[in-house]
Symmetry: C2
Subunit: 220 residues, 2 copies
């Protein structure tokens, strides 16, 4: 099987491909996400290409092959099921589970993973609202639009949080804007780059538009 490093690159490439219109990942972004220098990323990407997990052209970016994408989705399944288990069964804080899953995802076998899935009742989303791929590798397209797309007076429901930073997650939790929570936009201050949002049964909170962009929602 793939090593821990290889799995981390595959997952990063998958995530970056989702975010880019071309479906390609740049070396700089890849290196930053994995936490290595660009030179290291170039070296590794060549190995991934040799292993038929990626297609790579000098100065031309990387993209996953079908095989590489399947591997990436499998890692995503492991990661998100583990996060769900840590929150649901072990009652850990959703702000810390991402980093824990980052290591455990490489050590869990298919047998343990499927037992975990059974124990959790085959959940379809992780604690942050991200879709959990099926055992067959199918993954629901994560819909929704950022909170910044909503206007004063509009109502909606949080779908997912597109940022795993622990402090940000703690803030989101405190403001009541967890996945599933209904909300209403109270005001938007374009000049100050902030907006005020009220989660159902909560006091309104002010947040920067940059932060609001990380909260993905849908119309009520």
């Amino acid at each position: 099987m793939a090593t821990e490093a290889v799995e981390n690159y595959l997952k990063a490439m998958y995530t970056l491909a989702r975010e880019s219109p071309t479906g390609e990942a740049g070396m700089k972004a890849l290196a930053t996400m994995v936490g290595v220098t660009t030179g290291t990323a170039t070296t590794m990407v060549k190995r991934l290409a040799a292993a038929k997990l990626a297609r790579y052209e000098r100065f031309g970016g990387v993209r996953l092959t079908t095989k590489g994408e399947a591997a990436a989705v499998d890692i995503l399944r492991r990661h998100r099921l583990i996060e769900t288990f840590l929150v649901q069964t072990l009652k850990l804080d959703w702000a810390v589970v991402h980093d824990e899953a980052e290591r455990l995802e490489h050590a869990i076998s298919p047998v343990v993973l499927e037992a975990l899935d059974r124990h959790l009742g085959h959940p379809s989303s992780d604690p942050h609202g991200d879709p959990i791929p099926s055992a067959e590798g199918r993954i629901r397209e994560p819909g929704g639009r950022p909170l910044t797309d909503f206007e004063t007076g509009q109502r909606g429901r949080v779908v997912r949080i597109a940022d795993q930073d622990a402090d940000f997650l703690k803030f989101v939790d405190a403001s009541g804007l967890r996945p599933g929570a209904p909300f209403e936009i109270r005001s938007v201050d374009a000049a100050a780059q902030t907006m005020s949002v009220r989660a159902r049964g909560r006091d309104p909170v002010a947040l920067a538009l940059a932060a609001a962009r990380k909260i993905v929602c849908e119309r009520e």
Copy 2:
């Protein structure tokens, strides 16, 4: 922290030290247990000595330092809590959990480990009857004597199974001689190197003395 390889050597050294009267481990035994060549074990043992985890003299065997032993006991705690979780919570077969724990033990953080311990109600033994060290590093001395020490007609109770081989564990399970099970010796055939044992509520089973030696028991 220690790498996965280092942790595996420490655990093997701890186990071998328990089994040897001198408290020392030989390179051949260590290499075999870790699954490497003796040359590799020699190299690694020098590194462990440099890191103050072991004391080593050329041609003179290795032993853990206090620091090395504490690390080994910590790994044992992780391993055994994970095994217990896999059996109790995820309902996995006790014959397969050892290999699973062998990888997971290196990826679990103190935070997750203590959450696991809490979730399991602070168990004192793993599914094979081995003692689980406390968070402070205290470990109960695993008592008991091999089934071969018992004589015809004697009764007792299984304490632990001193062999993690999956096929052997499946056999033990089928014969009803799991940790905690009361039993009675029906007969011993020294010439044939076998004995017959009956677990409470079960039919008697015949087993080789070599196998019986791996079943550790106590007087009723």
